[in-house]
Amino acid sequence: MNALVLHIARPITLWSLHFIAIYALISAACAPRGLIEADVMRAVSGIVTLGAAVVTLAWLIIGMRTLRQTPDGAPERPLVVAVAWTAAISLVALFANLWPVAFLATCSG
């Protein structure tokens, strides 16, 4: 059960890191300091998102498979359900983070 608690927190923690990364990248590219070029920001964001999405998707698939294998009455089942659902919600939320980078041409729209 220790592992299951970890698995619940895992995907959404990855989402947090991803959010911080995207926020930092956008801030680095769009703030007065102009630390990086917009294209660099776009490329790095894409790679980061792809990596995070692949990992989260893997967790989701594993989570769903575990869910199918866990009988309804099993005591740990609620946590198994929660593992699959946090992975699903996190996956969606990952792509939401990428939204601005994907659909906006420049920092100013």
Partner: protein, 849 residues
């Protein structure tokens, strides 16, 4: 999976002979006397969670009424255009105090009250694991609230909005003390929030009944657990922001001054980094209470416990990614706006999951339309509507029109009143029998509900329209004929109808204490443990702590409901040491892990909180010698608090599972004190991260000033780095030695060395910062703030190391009782880690001039 036998971490075999006494036991008292609440004035020394919880609830409700009256006065002023009922200054004070009190002195304390009162009862504990901390938090809240309110007496009520935007709240534009009342009073009251966070985390994780694994916890515990973590991360940005702003007002440090490289937006970032999660911190416990009550009235367990857990956990995280949607109009890059817009909409998903879990629960049985159920349905109606307008506001172009207009006022009241006040009233109706032993009136309850519901919707639905018709928020008056007259009139009428509903509740509350029918055992047919005893319950929570095999123990475990509650079999029926005790568990599996010795009534929390209040109030009044006196009182109180002789090293029979023997206050990472320490460190890390964010933010948005800032002395920064690493190693060794139960001599040497190294680290940081003038740029000021923060932590570590050494020397901590050093080790490691990061920042920030 469950009840895995506890694997004793390498704790030393306890030596019974040396420690086989309870240092603070009261041998003349039997079990009931040990748990009895002290009478008369000594009730102020009570640390019982039920006493403290009720104090939180009553005080919070009184603040609710005060803020409500302010809201009615605000509405009276707006009832007609160009009204002269209140002048602008008074109006500004009233709306500022309305928001401030509602957010800081009502909503958060109220949920803390429910948490403090309910957690031990619902998880089968006899008290919270840190009862003194709860009492301390309450007194800080009370004193902080009094400071904030007293500003009215001094005619210095804050008038800068509950958001205190700079530069309006700086000394240049707000002279006098009004802003200081806010900053100092609220910061004192916030201590209650962060202590409650530590308390809730440790209590839920470490003191559940035997067999109550995470999956068998009442769902409310998940909600509260996530809320507590959110408080631990969410409040620190505001605490840091408030301290920086107070430092700017008091000392002239230019954190937010754009002429010296500060940025007014930094305040907004810090404020909303707190302010947005705050909304979910308020909402989640209320939703948890709905998830607790709803199944009772449907007669079936909650639909989708696992879904709800996933939703609550994800919501806790997602809610931190949307703070800037309060700043859409500040001119942030469109790309940032879009990021926060997208993240904001994401919260709709876990919210939707929860709402549909609630709705699906309704299908499981035949719902009973009780008064709490009315409020739950009211919650569904209002909150869903508020959630949908929230999604509308996440759309940036719409937000640019609606932001700071009455549309937002409507939205936020739909979410907060729908998401917190309605569930709270439902919860009050539901748990009042537990507080008073009597039932409130169904008939009056319906009156209260319908008045509140109709009044609320009349008042606040109109505001959507007022806002779309262009009425900005926070205006004391508006011109006639601009299209807002009738809508405002209706809103005011609605507000008074809403108030009438609340008045009916209050009247019924006082009435039912005399005339209400007596509540029987488990009057609602609930499934959770707080209803195990007939209300009002005796001074203790559980005569013996029962084994838990189900998430709905009162429904599924007949042995709990058949006989008299006091005779139920369970752990710790015996009370050999005449101490308050409860069972400690493994954080995940719920397997019994240890016996927790709990404090008896004591004055130390009141004294410490009083000292702090003197410190804060004297600082407000600029009487600095008195501040020092207050600080010393607080330090003395806290020292007396933690000085008590150690209890660990004893093994006792718990009376369950064929004589299961457990150690008292185990020296292990899963123990409640270490979990509490980790919770505290989480708060400290968040405080530090807020400062780091401030530095990075200024570095990124004000590059010219960052460049113009003097770099700290490199040699000393390097030394500080090295010494911090050494401090980390020493702290690690201290913790390790404690767990291994090393000899007193070794740990004494480690304590001494740690104190020495801490002193050296502090000295090198001071020398490193010496060439930097904190008044030169905001960036430099943030550097000093980081240094000051680390210095404060170093001071604590130093005091702690000396303190532990002293306790060993006088015999208050014997060999093998390593708990204080385990905690010191963890605290030292964290402090050292922050020292390392600070030293690195000092090595590279700024330019040598």
């Amino acid at each position: 999976m469950t009840d895995a036998p506890f694997d004793p971490t390498p704790a030393p075999p306890p030596r019974r002979d040396a420690y086989d006494v309870a240092p603070k036991g009261e041998p003349e008292k039997d079990f009931e006397e040990v748990w009895a609440t002290p009478q008369g004035a000594r009730v102020l020394s009570s640390v019982s969670h039920r006493v403290v919880g009720k104090r939180f609830l009553i005080t919070g409700f009184i603040f609710f009424l005060i803020a409500g009256v302010l809201a009615l006065l605000v509405r009276l002023q707006l009832i007609v255009p160009e009204n002269t009922f209140l002048d602008s200054e008074t109006y500004n004070q009233f709306f500022t105090m309305h928001g401030t009190i509602m957010m800081f002195l009502f909503a958060i304390p109220m949920l803390e009250g429910f948490a403090v009162y309910l957690i031990p009862l619902m998880i089968g504990a006899r008290d919270l694991v840190f009862p003194r901390l709860g009492a301390f938090g309450y007194y800080c809240y009370l004193f902080g609230g009094i400071i904030v309110l007293s500003s009215f007496i001094f005619d210095a009520a804050p008038a800068g909005g509950w958001f205190m935007y700079v530069p309006l709240s700086t000394s240049q534009y707000t002279e006098g003390l009004s802003a200081d009342f806010w900053l100092i009073g609220i910061t004192l009251a916030e201590i209650a929030s962060v202590t409650a966070a530590v308390e809730i985390i440790a209590a839920i994780l470490c003191s559940r009944a035997p067999g109550m694994s995470l999956t068998k916890m009442p769902i409310l515990m998940w909600y509260l657990l996530v809320t507590a973590f959110m408080i631990a991360i969410g409040f620190p940005p505001l605490i840091i922001g408030s301290i920086l702003l107070e430092a700017e007002r008091l000392l002239g440090l230019p954190f937010f001054d754009p002429t010296l490289g500060g940025d007014p937006l930094l305040w907004q970032h810090l404020f909303w980094l707190f302010g947005h999660p705050e909304v979910y911190i308020i909402f989640l416990p209320a939703a948890g209470m709905v998830a607790t009550m709803l199944p009772v009235f449907v007669g079936k367990p909650l639909f989708g416990y696992g879904f709800a857990v996933a939703a609550v956990v994800t919501m806790g995280f997602l809610s931190f990614g949307l703070w800037a949607h309060h700043m859409f109009a500040t001119g942030l890059p469109i790309m940032s706006l879009s990021l926060f817009s997208a993240a904001s909409t994401m919260v709709a998903i876990p919210t939707g999951v929860q709402i549909f879990c609630f709705i699906a629960t309704l299908t499981l049985g035949r719902p009973r339309l009780t008064i709490p159920m009315y409020f739950i349905l009211g919650f569904l109606f209002i909150f869903v509507l508020g959630g949908l307008t929230g999604v509308m506001l996440a759309a940036v172009p719409f937000n640019l029109q609606a932001h700071d207009s009455y549309f937002v006022v409507a939205h936020l009241h739909y979410v907060l009143i729908g998401g917190f006040v309605f569930p709270m009233f439902g919860a009050l109706y539901y748990w009042v029998p537990h507080f008073t032993g009597r039932m409130m009136s169904e008939r009056l309850g319906k009156w209260a509900f319908w008045l509140m519901f109709s009044g609320f919707n009349l008042a606040f639905f109109m505001m959507h329209l007022t806002g779309l018709r262009g009425m900005p928020r926070r205006i004391a008056t508006y011109p006639e004929g601009i299209g807002w007259d009738r809508l405002n009139m209706l809103s005011t009428v609605g507000a008074f109808i809403l108030a009438a509903g609340i008045a009916v509740f209050i009247w019924d509350f006082f009435r039912h204490q005399r005339a209400g029918p007596k509540a029987g055992r488990d009057p609602w047919g609930a499934a959770t443990l707080e209803w195990l005893y007939r209300p009002v319950t005796p001074g203790y929570n559980f005569r013996a702590i029962p084994e838990i095999r189900s998430r709905e123990p009162l429904w599924d475990q007949p042995e709990l409901t058949e006989g008299p509650a006091a005779e139920i079999e369970g752990a710790l029926r015996e009370c050999p040491d005449h101490r308050r005790e409860t069972l400690g568990c493994d954080p995940v599996s719920g397997a019994p892990l240890q016996i927790l010795r709990l404090p008896h009534p004591t004055w130390t929390p009141l004294i410490s909180a009083f000292g702090l209040a003197v410190l804060f109030a004297a600082t407000l009044a600029s009487v600095y010698w008195l501040s020092a006196v207050g600080g010393l009182i607080a330090l003395a109180g806290l020292t007396g608090w933690v000085w008590e002789p150690s209890d660990s090293g004893v093994v006792r029979n718990t009376g369950i599972r064929d004589g299961l023997e457990l150690p008292v206050n185990v020296v292990a990472r899963g123990g409640h004190l270490h979990v509490g320490t980790v919770g505290t460190l989480l708060i400290l890390y968040a405080l530090f991260a807020s400062l780091l964010f401030a530095g990075l933010y200024l570095w990124n948005t004000q590059p010219v000033f960052a460049q113009a800032t003097e770099r700290p002395a490199r040699m000393f920064a390097l030394l500080a780095f090295g010494l911090s690493v050494a401090m980390f190693a020493l702290s690690w060794m201290t913790g390790r030695a404690a767990i291994l139960g090393s000899g007193q001599g070794l740990i004494l040497i480690l304590n001494g060395l740690l104190a020495l190294v801490v002193g050296a680290v502090a000295a090198t940081f001071a020398l490193a910062l010496l060439p930097v003038d904190p008044w030169s740029t905001a960036f430099a000021a943030v550097g000093w703030a980081m240094g000051a923060f680390v210095a404060a932590l170093l001071a604590v570590t130093f005091y702690w190391a000396v303190f532990n050494a002293l306790r060993k020397l006088v015999g208050a901590q014997l060999e093998g009782q390593g708990l204080p050093d385990l905690l010191l080790g963890s605290f030292g490691k964290a402090t050292a880690a922050m020292g390392v990061v600070t030293a690195l920042a000092f090595l590279f920030a700024g330019t040598p001039q």
